[in-house]
């Protein structure tokens, strides 16, 4: 801020100094142009002077001109120095005024800016507070919603967990039942196989016994047949035959229907 103001003042000074130099140059040219105009007056036809005279006059004029010019230059230089001093003073005074004004404006601006900043800060703080309150409100609402959702999810998860546990228990029960059933079936199968094996052994034994008995019976029957042959006394068997018929009377009736 200070640098900007300083450069501003320098630029103003340079502009004023330039204006003064331009003004001086302008006056100097005006001055020389008037002298030149005076130096070329209306063409008059003077009587021709001798060369020496003219030379002497010309030299005297030139000397006079140089002196005037030097005196004018000195006066101009003095005047310029005075003007410069005056201008410097004016510039200093003006610069001080400007600097003071600028400083005051700067201070005012600073103060305004500070007030603005303070106001902005206050507004910002208010806004921030409001935003914070809103955020807190939203956060609270969000948290409440999240907690509500969390509670809901927890309840759902709890229900799901219970259902899953129930299904798991059912599945476990089914598995246990299946296992028990399989064990029972296995036991039954084993018992059945053992019974079947025992039965098969018994059947095999009975079969062999039956075969043995049949062989013996066949042998005995063959012996009896050979021994009795056609000498069977049916008269002696008559009562037995009638008793056999009597014993199977119902079967015969049924067969003859």
């Amino acid at each position: 801020m200070d640098n900007t103001l300083f450069f501003t003042i320098l630029i103003i000074n340079a502009v004023i100094l330039g204006a003064v130099i331009a003004f001086a140059v302008y006056h100097a040219r005006e001055h020389f142009s008037k002298k030149h105009a005076k130096k070329n007056p209306k063409q008059t036809y003077l009587p021709v002077l001798p060369h020496d005279a003219r030379q002497r006059i010309l030299e005297e004029a030139e000397d006079e001109y140089s002196r005037v010019l030097e005196r004018t230059a000195l006066e101009l230089e003095r005047s310029l120095a005075a003007t410069t001093d005056k201008l410097n003073n004016e510039l200093g005074r003006l610069g001080g005024t400007i600097v003071e004004g600028e400083m005051q404006a700067y201070k005012h601006d600073i103060e305004q800016m500070r007030e603005d900043v303070s106001s902005s800060v206050s507004k910002a703080e208010t806004e921030i507070a409001r935003q914070q309150a809103a955020v807190k409100q939203k956060l609270a609402e969000r948290q409440e919603a999240i907690e509500r959702q969390l509670t809901e999810h927890e309840s759902q998860l709890s229900a799901l967990l219970k259902a899953r546990e129930s299904r798991l228990a059912e599945h476990q029960a089914r598995l246990d039942a299946d296992l028990i059933e399989h064990q029972r079936a296995h036991e039954a199968k084993r018992a059945e196989l053992e019974a079947k094996l025992d039965q098969e052994i018994a059947d095999r034994r009975a079969h062999y016994e039956k075969q043995l008995d049949e062989k013996l019976s066949e042998t005995l029957a063959a012996f009896l047949t050979e021994s009795l042959g056609h000498d069977v006394d049916l008269g002696a068997q008559k009562q037995y035959l009638l008793s056999v018929l009597e014993e199977h009377k119902d079967e015969l009736k049924e067969a003859l229907k």
Binding site: S217, A221, G229, L242
Partner: protein
């Protein structure tokens, strides 16, 4: 119920056919003789010889002690009807059955099982004793051989009946 009672001496279907043939022969002769008596001529044919059983059957068919061709024709029809509808069974014994055994078995069967039963008797010495009864497709083996085969423990009891 049959109109005529089959004598117990007629046991099989063959016996019944023979009886029918005898009755027919007799009925034919009886008809000729009746016609000859009616016309006053001598019959050319001699009276056929009848078995005791046929004689009994023909005598039983006479109404009021008088035999008529119609009664004989009716008897023949009844016998054919019995032959056609009678229920038959086959009994196999260990030896050819004597007549008294056959008669008793037939009498018992007709008295206790079926009145019109016809029994064909066969014999097979291999069955040792007892009988095998076949009724239609059913076979009842009540032979000693079967009894021996089925239970050797009763062999002594079975042998005691031989």
């Amino acid at each position: 119920m049959t109109a005529v009672r089959i004598p117990d001496t007629i046991s099989s279907s063959e016996d019944l056919v023979s009886l029918i043939m005898e009755v027919r022969t007799y009925a034919k002769w009886f008809s000729l003789m009746t016609n000859a008596q009616r016309t006053g001529t001598r019959p050319d044919h001699q009276q056929p010889e009848l078995t005791t059983t046929a004689t009994e059957v023909i005598r039983a068919s006479a109404t009021d002690g008088t035999l008529t061709p119609t009664a004989l024709d009716s008897l023949i029809a009844d016998l054919e009807s019995v032959h056609k509808h009678a229920r038959s069974l086959t009994i196999t014994l260990a030896a050819p059955a004597p007549n008294d055994v056959k008669r008793d078995i037939v009498a018992w069967t007709r008295a206790n099982v079926a009145e019109d039963a016809l029994i064909n008797f066969r014999f097979n010495s291999q069955i040792v004793g007892g009988m095998i009864v076949r009724v239609g497709s059913r076979i009842y083996d009540w032979s000693f051989k079967k009894a021996i085969m089925e239970n050797k423990s009763k062999l002594a009891e079975t042998l005691s009946r031989v």
